[in-house]
Amino acid sequence: MSETMTVSKQQIASKRGTLSTFWHDFRQRKVAFISFLFFVLLVILAVIGPYIVPFNPQTPDYNHVLQGMSQKHWAGTDEYGRDVLSRLIAGTRISLGIGISSVLIGAMAGTILGLVSGYFGKWVDKTIMRICDVLFAFPDILLAIGIVAILGPGLKNVIFAVAFFSVPSFARMVRGKTLEVKEMLFIEAEKSIGAKTNRIIFRHIFPETIPIIIVYLTMQVGTAILAAASLSFLGLGASPSSPDWGAMLSMSRDYIGTAFNLVFFPGLAIFLTVLSLNNLGDGLRDILDPKIKD
Amino acid sequence: MHNLLNVNNLQIAFRKRKKSIKVVNGVDFGISKGEIVGIVGESGCGKSVTSLSIMRLFHDTSGEVVGGTIQFKEKDLLELSEREMRRIRGKEIAMIFQEPMTSLNPVMKIGKQLIQGIMLHLGLNREEAKQQAVEMLKLVGIPRAESIMNEYPHQLSGGMRQRVMIAIAMSCEPELLIADEPTTALDVTIQAQILQLMKKIQRERGTAILLITHDLGVVAESCDRVVVMYAGRVVEEATVEELFESPLHPYTQGLIESVPKIGNRKEELYSIPGHVPNPEAMPNGCKFASRCPYVMDICREREPQLVSNNNGRKQRCWLHQSIKEEERKTIG
């Protein structure tokens, strides 16, 4: 028993030692790496965007409404004469904010439920998994729309709704991994030494689940950004006047015959953001969870 | 020269991160019509790769034949086009594999799996092919052959599935049957039955069999001649009687010693100490030198040749050949 224990610990130790190999592997994957750089750029824009925008994204300029692309306004102006590029940059913060915060909340709740469910098993597991089954009976967007229909439109409610529908998938995935890890001998060994449940879960099981959580988190942020944009587009999310990408697309519908730029650029921003997250997720999955490669 | 298959100086390499690693280096052996020849060796000695290369089944792996010839009757199989090769596979040379559990298509009925190949190679119509299929299932000793035709592989036991595999392989009456560890995954009693079946087929149909195995017991039970491989080379070749009576190569001796003997319930089985050398870092001299109890200085420096005596027995060991002999051979 003690021998297997040390072996397992060594394996974990060697896993940490491979962080530099991870970075090396990661850089080899050009698509994932470029996507990662793009995403970092987006995060930087989200943080400093409001300070570097060429024009104020909210101030109307009625002398320059609905202008096409020009040297001055690279992405043209909207129906209030506001610079589209500036609004897109300002909107980065909203989109990434919603996407990341909602998924983080959902992932946290789901991870805790999954750990508890997988570790304790029996009726705890059954109850939690049944609830997840029920939530899975609603399509994601529908669940989100239902929640927003109850709570009313608005960004906060969108974050809650998106977080809510990410919970069951995280719970299920973490539970699966927990069951797997639980079977490994060293936890049995740890238990016989008399470690506390909390300690076992958070010091031993949780670290093992981190790789799949990271992979799934990355992909789920993309899904969340898409879902939130859809809700805003339907008029259930961000207020129409805010520079949210989905809301901008919603407003653009009135000018669909005349203003190409109003439709094209906000959608392109959503598309590229989600694309980079999906590529990044694919790359991370190939490295961190080679079992499901191909 | 053998009159069915002659493998000469076969060299196979695998590509690993742009490096080419030779896993089979200069293998020679042959099979005559109606003969059962065994290739034995530990896993990783290149015996499976050799058998796959005869069928040219390296598809999708990074393996590649980089030298030598594989003469089957009048043709060099390595020279054939893929289309010509397809006409040989399954018709003139058939193959069965180690895993009867996974080697059959799980979502196709047994009958259809048999009939497909028969129709392809023998040009029979569906009805005739069906008759041939049933006959084959009977040949391999499957009871209620007609009803098995309508079953799926998962409904059969492992031994039954291997019989079906043999039926499929024999369905176009090939001249050569390659069996890659056909009994390894089976219970001991079933193993004996399958080996009996293969001998029966060889007797009744005159099919030559190339039997790849790591198990000398299997060889003793069924083969006429044995080729012993080590680290991608042939180290000894002899008839079964000669091999078990007087093994020449220390590796063969070790292999024979590690076979469990009936009635001898010693606690510990003998196993050859040490490991097979890594193909990426092959030693210069004899590849077995590091594990050999009789190792001499020359063994570490120069690799012996595969030398044949007058009655066709071959060995690759400095204990049984002198440098002079080798030089004479290479010069002459």
């Binding site: 089954d133 029920v134 009976a137 609603f138 399509p139 994601d140 967007i141 529908l142 729309i145 239902g146 229909a149 109850i150 993309g222 898409l226 859809s230 587009f233 339907l234 008029g235 259930l236 697309l249 653009s252 669909i256 015959g257 439709v263 906000p266 959608g267 392109l268 959503i270 598309f271 989600v274 694309l275 997250l277 999906n278 590529n279 694919d282 191909d294 | 089944l57 999708d60 397809r86 006409r87 040989i88 596979r89 399954g90 058939a94 193959m95 594999f97 895993e99 996974t102 080697s103 059959l104 298509n105 799980p106 979502v107 196709m108 497909q116 190949g117 392809l120 799926y152 998962h154 499929i168």
Partner: protein
């Protein structure tokens, strides 16, 4: 197989009850007084009470639930508050176009998705695979409403080839089904590829090659069937995606379907309609998953014959 079917069908009954109960609670979960919310800011107490009465909100909860379930079993979904029309009638007009759109979308998405998947798997890691997988990951990342809007700009506004909305002719289905199916096509392509690549590594494929079958026979005659079994499951899961997507896409194209009705009803706080729609969508999703489960059992001989 019979046992399997019965087990699956019995299995969804509790789920249907729980889902319908949750949706029953829906109107009660609205913060504040739903009647007041529906009636609007200017309504007086009398109007609010009338709405309360109409929705039976003035009755005890258990009685509301019994009535609700009773109505449900009789196919009575209540009445729209705004238009006073029975909800079943409102939905009845829209369910056919919506179903047509969904089926059309999933049909082309399956066909093209499986095709791209097969080509990618056959040419694994070569240029056709790369193109196929770039297409797929783009399809997954594409906001369907944006795809719809851009198509309208190109094909309706610029080229004048297709209508911007409505379903007077078959042309009205074209762009919505492309917008709706793109993401699903991409998912199916990715999944078919990985499933087929896995299958092609199986031992029985080697057996097939050792018997002299050609590459095409092996892919289409042997590998594809096993590979498509899990693809069917994934396609079923995509149906949920489709339902969600249809809400958005129907809005883009002013498509007279259930999705647009749902959004309009939410905006007008027409809760009985919203409730009924959520119910229908969920039931539809559960039903499709059931069908997929049964189909999976049918395709997989291990289940079919045990």
């Amino acid at each position: 197989m019979k046992k399997y079917i019965v087990k699956r069908i019995l299995g969804i009954i509790p789920l249907l009850f729980v889902v319908s109960f949750l949706i029953f609670l829906f109107i009660h979960l609205v913060p504040g007084d739903p009647a007041r919310l529906i009636a609007g800011k200017d309504a007086d107490l009398q109007q609010i009470n009338a709405i309360k009465h109409q929705l039976h909100l003035d009755e005890p909860l258990y009685k509301q639930y019994i009535d609700y379930m009773n109505n449900l079993f009789h196919g009575n979904l209540g009445e729209s508050i705004k238009s006073k029309v029975p909800v079943s009638e409102l939905i009845g007009e829209r369910i056919v176009p919506s179903l047509e759109l969904s089926l059309l979308s999933i049909a082309w998405a399956m066909v093209i998705g499986v095709l791209i998947g097969i080509i990618s798997a056959i040419f694994k890691n070569r240029w056709p695979d790369n193109i196929g997988m770039i297409t797929a990951v783009s399809g997954i990342s594409l906001p369907n409403f944006w795809l719809g809007l851009v198509m309208i700009q190109i094909f309706s506004v610029k080229l004048g080839l297709l209508p911007t909305g409505g379903i007077e002719t078959w042309k009205g289905y074209l762009m919505p089904s492309i917008a709706l199916g793109a993401g699903i096509m991409a998912m199916i392509a990715r999944f078919t590829r990985s499933s087929l690549v896995q299958t092609l590594k199986e031992d029985f494929i080697r057996t097939g090659r050792s018997r002299g079958y050609s590459g095409l026979t092996i892919v289409f005659g042997h590998a594809l069937r096993s590979s498509l079994i899990p693809v069917v499951t994934v396609a079923g899961l995509q149906f949920g995606f489709l339902l969600g997507g249809s809400i958005v896409v129907e809005t883009v194209f002013s498509f007279p379907g259930m999705g647009r009705l749902l959004i309009n009803s939410i905006q007008m706080r027409d809760y009985p309609v919203v409730q009924a729609e959520l119910m229908l969508f969920s039931f539809e999703f559960i039903l499709v998953n059931l069908i997929v489960d049964l189909l999976y059992g049918f395709l997989n001989p291990k289940i079919r014959y045990d």
